[in-house]
Symmetry: C2
């Protein structure tokens, strides 16, 4: 039955956490849906209230161990965050700060006594907290942040201090209004020794809401969006923090000041600490895609009813989705949304499975997951920014009105490209991991001297497939290398080998250039990497494109119903071919496409756009977003208006 | 002296209206500068007050004839609007509605008696008014709007009426709060005859601000930006409009209802009426570029002081602008800003010169100017949206804070891509004009049946050069056709011929496909054009790229000082080469670039980015935006913070 096609699509997209997704749809009723056009104070008041009322079934705290009130399902908590993003992005960020970053840091960086003392109250929302890492002067290079925590054995406490204005904690969610506690990242100093960045659990307000002694809290003020999130600035004037408030899983300070850690190297230790917080990035990437799906649902549905201009042979006006240019924008974006949904699902599954082992994750595996989280966060947030912008424009003037939701989606998600890791920095991290085969992903987030050195040693790039390895190997092996004109344009094996080939070639080229630079630019070590920066970023993006296509390929296989599977295969064709088309400059330049075949790719994309035209509405319905959540006036009214017009 | 390089650049960029630009810089003091983080009501109150206080020297009304209080300088009024856009975009839109659209319609569509009765009070700001064209149901296809004006000879008045909800006037600036009058566009009906869309001058509020009898005014509500503009919705319930309130320059109704017009065809008459309003598009395009320049100035200056990550051989942190990827984004956008500045200057000059003739502008010339205005509006607003977004991201978290101005610039300009003509529709208009050689640019804005027919008759495309024709011909003739590898990558003649060749080939291809479609798709006339829509849009964009490069080439020639000229030539190289690089897929696909030369283009762009690195700050300083107008906290504070950090 074609009629329930949206439901069948939704089942495939919902994946492993389908029941949790359905709980969110059921439990997050009208009360939780975003309110366009609020003032800042109204939004903060509403979100502050709602964040404590999120029904447990939604699962924001499901990642914590059962003994403290969770369900030991970290994948579920990432999915829950993503669902909140379709209801209200301020609510998602506020919840993400509370249970993801703040609670997550106490859990991941703290030890048993911290867990017992704090997790129940954090999980219940009785204690709202902040994640105070970023400073005004250091956002991307957090390893160099300037807040200090000097240990005093006499009082068995740390002296937490902000030495410069640029060292104040900045952009901190939950700080300006609601936070009572904060996990504060600071340089640990004992005597003459600096031990690098550590995390401290610090009360920042008393029960009445007044700042704690020595703590100064400012308001980050008006922002582009996320009006419901109270971002603030925190400074410390020699605040005394008791010794047991150091979150000491990775580094301990004895009463006499003796420092111990299972990880000797300060940098490596810090990046291990950061690594445990990878879930934040996963949640942001997933939330960005969730918001893009809201925007696409609004724009596609509007495009099904909005008419403009008559056909040459008719008095009937044409619906927007019938225009090729309109379809090209919207349908290719719908295909990308499907692709990212599968990529996100497999990332959450893999991360969840790795964590489920209970013990430590093998180093190389941990780094691959971190890299994938970073890459998918960057590409999903970039895609969301572009897609939501495009959807707002596709709705014309209506897309500029707050009542139609698109301005809020755009403004709220806008910060995602630069928070939880700036996208450029994250893609560099991905590139670096690839260049070194994850052998030395530690070191400063840039630290390109080392990467150049490691690249010198690389002999051959081996790409590791990330999903459905057997299937993908079979598909790729089934097409001739450097697929020629005889290979069908919709052969998945050809798409996969095009994506793999591009990534491999870009990486090998970068290695070659880094090697050459390492020889010729010994006196300008910064330039060795910097001159190749655009090349490395391109390689990182090609890598993400490849793992996304692998995930889409694997995801299609999970559809059991033939009609659904056939449709998903077409959507995957559109994703693969429109991605190749968008980068045809590279493929032509490197003679992976002949001019004739490049033109044929454009023709094939247009054919798919025509073929999928009747399925446009079903494809967005398949995202499974409840009507109440979409909350756009144009969807409620357009039908009536049209009927009175025709 | 290199020290005053910014001043010398500014002199060239300021162009013919340099003194007017300087007046705006001098007269628009702190009072007028935008206030980030205001609520909607605060912004409306402030802008409503300020719009009546704009000093005469700024020139918003300078386009009207001297006898009514202007200076007969329409170019000056467009430049004045553009300058306002750097101070406050709501103020620019509010002024644009009042003196550009409302006043402009009374002047262009009205006759002597309207001018004498109303222009002095409009120019002084005593009567604030609206331009009520767009309806909820018809924005792009305004020819089909539904408001009716039925003439009644008995009362010698029109019955102005909104027959459906979808026919209400929507998004109308000045309507929700301040407007007393409106120019209302409606279908004129006399007896059984419909005469197409005409404009009527209608009081919508009394002196106390209450809606006039039969007029219902609503508020468009919260918007993404432009909070200071009171956009509203107006409906008419059989409102009686006296006969002499028809703006009757192009169509007259005698007391007995006899209709006369110098233009027989209703469609042609309507498009002539629209054509007189082309200045609105010119102002929006210029304002978009002006706002992009504000954003670039903020991002480049911040990138000169903001440091992040240390170099491998140093403890000194690296300024953002030293990173290749950062420079690639910002400097190529600076080059585009220079390019669009010259293109806008030449458009305003040509339009101004055409209008200065006093009489009617020759048809073909009029259509070329309309097309250029449409194309440059589309490309400048698209570029502004992307550039401001990029600048906000280039400033990281700081770029998300209202105090740093970028969120406001983004949100305020966002509507430009879809108002005063949706960009897709405008580019179609450009494409259509090119395909028909401007022979039949009338007809419905799409009306593609006719365009396909006209295209059938096209034998050879002849491109008309728009600036410095002799110089450009000489440059193009100096390089071999289909420039081969022996031609230097920075030969302007090669760039010009690459741009021309692309446009010509795209147009010829579109003609060929339309002709073939006209034969094979006789039963599906809509598809004849629709199947080629993406191709036509691409041709239109290539056309705009070409006229922009021509303008840049001509603009560089106007620099008299050798150092300035040499620098502008480099910036022009960067514009040309980065534009070719961005579309290298096309050039390779059509064998205008070999793979080796395509790679060389990328190398040349990177070389230019390095070469221009020391001039980055001077290039944005050359935009000549007063510090007070930039109004971004990061520019005021970053210096202090850094000095305390280092």
């Amino acid at each position: 039955m074609t009629d329930d096609l949206p439901n069948r699509l939704r089942e495939v997209l919902d994946g492993r956490w389908a029941s949790l997704r359905q709980s969110a749809r059921d439990k997050l009723d009208d009360r939780f849906v975003t309110v366009p056009g609020e003032t800042g104070p109204q939004a903060r008041e509403r979100i502050s209230r709602l964040v404590r009322q999120i029904p447990a079934e939604v699962g924001v705290a499901t990642g914590f161990p059962a003994e403290f009130g969770g369900a030991g399902d970290p994948g579920g908590s990432m999915v829950a965050t993503e669902m909140l993003a379709q209801v209200d992005l301020s609510l998602m960020v506020k919840a993400g700060v509370q249970w993801g970053l703040f609670g997550g840091a106490v859990f991941s960086l703290g030890t048993r006594r911290h867990h017992e003392a704090w997790l129940p109250r954090i999980i219940s929302g009785d204690v709202l907290g902040c994640f105070a890492m970023t400073e005004t002067g250091h956002g991307s290079d957090v390893q160099r942040l300037r807040t200090t925590a000097v240990y005093d054995p006499g009082t068995e406490s740390f002296d937490l201090h902000t030495p410069y204005e640029a060292a104040r904690k900045d952009y901190i969610g939950n700080a300006a209004r609601d936070g009572r506690m904060a996990v504060v990242f600071a340089q640990l100093i004992v005597g003459e020794r600096r031990h690098g960045v550590h995390a401290f659990l610090v009360p920042i307000r008393d029960d009445a809401g007044a700042p704690a002694p020595g703590v100064t809290i400012g308001d980050a003020g008006a922002k582009a969006g996320l009006l419901g999130v109270d971002n603030g600035r925190i400074s410390f004037d020699h605040v005394r923090v008791p010794r047991d408030m150091l979150l000491d899983r990775y580094g301990q300070v004895a009463p006499d000041g003796t420092y111990t850690s299972s990880i000797d190297n300060d940098t490596r230790r810090f990046f291990t600490m950061l690594g445990t917080l990878v879930r934040g990035r996963v949640s942001v990437g997933g939330s960005a895609s969730a918001a893009a799906k809201s925007a696409l649902t609004i724009a596609v549905r509007y495009g099904e009813t909005r008419r403009q201009f008559t056909a040459p042979d008719s008095d009937q006006e044409i619906v927007l989705n019938d225009y090729l240019a309109h379809r090209r924008k919207l349908l290719t974006a719908v295909a990308r949304s499907y692709a990212y949904t599968f990529a996100q699902e497999f990332l959450v599954r893999d991360l969840s499975d790795a964590l489920a082992g209970g013990g430590e994750v093998e180093d190389r595996r941990q780094r691959e997951l971190e890299s994938r989280a970073a890459g998918l966060k960057a590409m999903q947030t970039q895609n969301a920014t572009r897609t939501i912008q495009m959807c707002r424009e596709a709705c014309g003037g209506a897309g500029y009105l707050a009542e139609n939701r698109l301005p809020g989606l755009k403004a709220d998600t806008d910060v995602f490209t630069t928070f939880e890791g700036d996208n450029t920095v994250l893609l560099q991290l991905v590139g670096k991991g690839l260049l070194t085969g994850y052998r030395d992903a530690f070191g400063s987030l840039d630290g390109w001297g080392k990467a150049a050195f490691a690249a010198e040693q690389v002999r051959e790039m081996v790409l590791e497939r990330t999903a459905a390895r057997t299937l993908i190997t079979r598909l790729v092996d089934a097409v001739p290398k450097r697929g020629d004109a005889s290979v069908g344009l919709t052969e998945r094996g050809w798409h996969l080998s095009m994506f793999e080939d591009r990534e491999k070639h870009l990486l090998e080229g970068a290695v070659r250039r880094l090697r050459r630079g390492a020889e010729t630019k010994r006196d300008r070590p910064f330039d060795i990497f910097n001159d190749v920066q655009d090349h490395v970023l391109e390689a990182a993006q090609a890598h993400v494109h490849r793992i996304v296509l692998e995930a889409f390929t694997a995801g299609v296989e999970e559809a059991t119903d033939p009609e659904t599977k056939a449709l998903l295969n077409k959507v995957c064709d559109l994703y693969a071919l429109s991605t190749i088309e968008a980068d045809k400059g590279w493929f032509l330049e490197h003679e992976r496409l002949t001019p004739a075949r490049a033109k044929a790719v454009t023709g094939a994309v247009n054919d798919l756009l025509t073929e999928l035209r009747p399925r446009m509405a079903a494809l967005v319905d398949g995202f499974g977003i409840p009507d109440a959540w979409l909350h756009a006036a144009i969807l409620r009214e357009e039908g009536d208006r049209q009927s009175s017009m025709m």
